[in-house]
Symmetry: C2
Subunit: 242 residues, 2 copies
DNA sequence: CGAGTATTTGATGCAGTTCAACGCTCGTGG
DNA sequence: CCACGAGCGTTGAACTGCATCAAATACTCG
């Protein structure tokens, strides 16, 4: 049974902007259904068009690009509340693939109705643009991390960010998040080899900063981790939910 | 004397989407003036708010982030037609700085009127979102390059992209573009050291693929360069101009 | 129980960094 | 008019962070 937008569990979170009654109504009509998929399912494929857009309701996934030489770049992790398919909607083609890591449920929207959103719901169009700008901002930061930080710094940076996202989504249970990715995924995120990622993680674990085992990520010393990352912790700003 | 939008030299280029008469009128009213600045001038500063948004009319610039450790990541080069300040407009703060490398002229818009653009000109709002998505796409590609490509591949990739942008803007004069950046700028773009960038460029020059000296970039063998870059040349799609 | 996948650890090698020095051009001031 | 220094490109030499290779362990699942 599909969740009604009025009851959307995500909207309750302080992370997300409030909705007006009108907005709830509109989103309810914009929403075409719900989709449940199993781990490993491809949601969108690089280079393909898609008639559908999605918002992740629950579960975790990966965005990634595959290069000609066979290597893979993870572009971001997908958390609940993330909008999926903006590129396919605007430019006709996705520039990266999106795949479910755990089982996921997604709200489904029709690409063909996007124009009416811009036409009739400028607040929602604004929000959509906000999301695009936020993703741009994130990618800029990721670029700076991969380009200018050492391996420890990159890994610490990534873990700090993941922790912050989990926190903002109330996914922490006494400091722990369910984080069912492989070390290879993190390596492909940060442009590091699997082996070096493993050894670097061992180092951070040894310093009692963080532990990550059995799909559980536990940040034990956020300050210390941020120090390693050469970054400062900024609280995630409230953001729109589509 | 400020250029009238009706006469905008950029709009004539096949790269940019056609404007309706209405759109020209609106942009003319949206445009608050023109700004001319000298080389080295900061346009927007990371972390600051700005009441103004810009479109580059002529000249070249850099977008970059500065990290806590003092290192710099160049996020993109600014070419004519680029919109500057979207982040400041939507989220309150720029996540990177923008600086003129040559002297530049910029169209100036008021941030405060952005909302009326969304409200009254949905096509233009759509275009703005398109631009944000395009930047996101580019950054994803850059991320993959820095994360997964070798030094030669990265440099070749960057030069191919720069060449393509120049071409799309009709900036080529028998294969040559004015490209007045320092090797340090390219190094900071690609996460490489200056020294290694220099040596790698020398290698590509030795293979007769490309030469870059005295602020002139000359791609002599585009196919060959693309091969080195492990990328394929795709023609830049038409895009909106703000 | 064997096959497949993920994590871990040790050993070796190299791509790219860092350090250092030199040449060229250009602007500035004595 | 020349001396000087600053900025950029270039090149050589030495070092190192991380990749690559290899192999063992631990799990899960059919």
């Amino acid at each position: 049974m599909a969740t009604r937008c009025a009851q959307c569990p995500l909207r309750q979170l302080p992370l997300f902007d409030d909705f007006s009654a009108d907005e709830v109504d509109f989103m309810q009509s914009f929403k075409k259904g719900e989709m449940s998929i199993g781990p490993g399912t491809a949601i969108l494929i690089e280079g393909s068009r898609s008639p559908q857009l999605f918002t992740a309701l629950s579960g975790l996934g990966l965005r990634y690009k595959t290069l000609r030489n066979g290597r893979r770049q993870v572009v971001n992790f997908v958390f609940p509340g993330d909008f999926i398919g903006l590129q396919a909607a605007l430019m006709d083609e996705m520039s990266h693939s999106v795949e479910a890591t755990t089982s996921m449920t997604l709200c489904v929207f029709n690409r063909s109705e996007l124009w009416s959103l811009f036409k009739n719901h400028p607040e929602r169009a604004f929000d959509l643009t906000w999301l695009a700008a936020a993703e741009e901002q994130f990618l800029g930061e990721a670029l700076a991390s991969i380009g200018q930080r050492s391996a420890v710094e990159r890994i610490a940076w990534a873990l700090v960010r993941i922790h912050a996202r989990a926190e903002a989504l109330s996914l922490l249970r006494n400091g722990r998040v369910h984080f069912p990715f492989r070390q290879q995924d993190l390596a492909d995120t940060l442009g590091l080899s699997l082996v070096h990622t493993n050894k670097t993680l061992a180092g951070l674990r040894g310093q009692q900063l963080v532990s990550w085992a059995d799909g559980q990520l536990h940040v034990m010393d956020l300050e210390g981790l941020a120090r390693q990352a050469m970054t400062d912790l900024r609280r995630a700003p409230r953001r729109p939910l589509m």
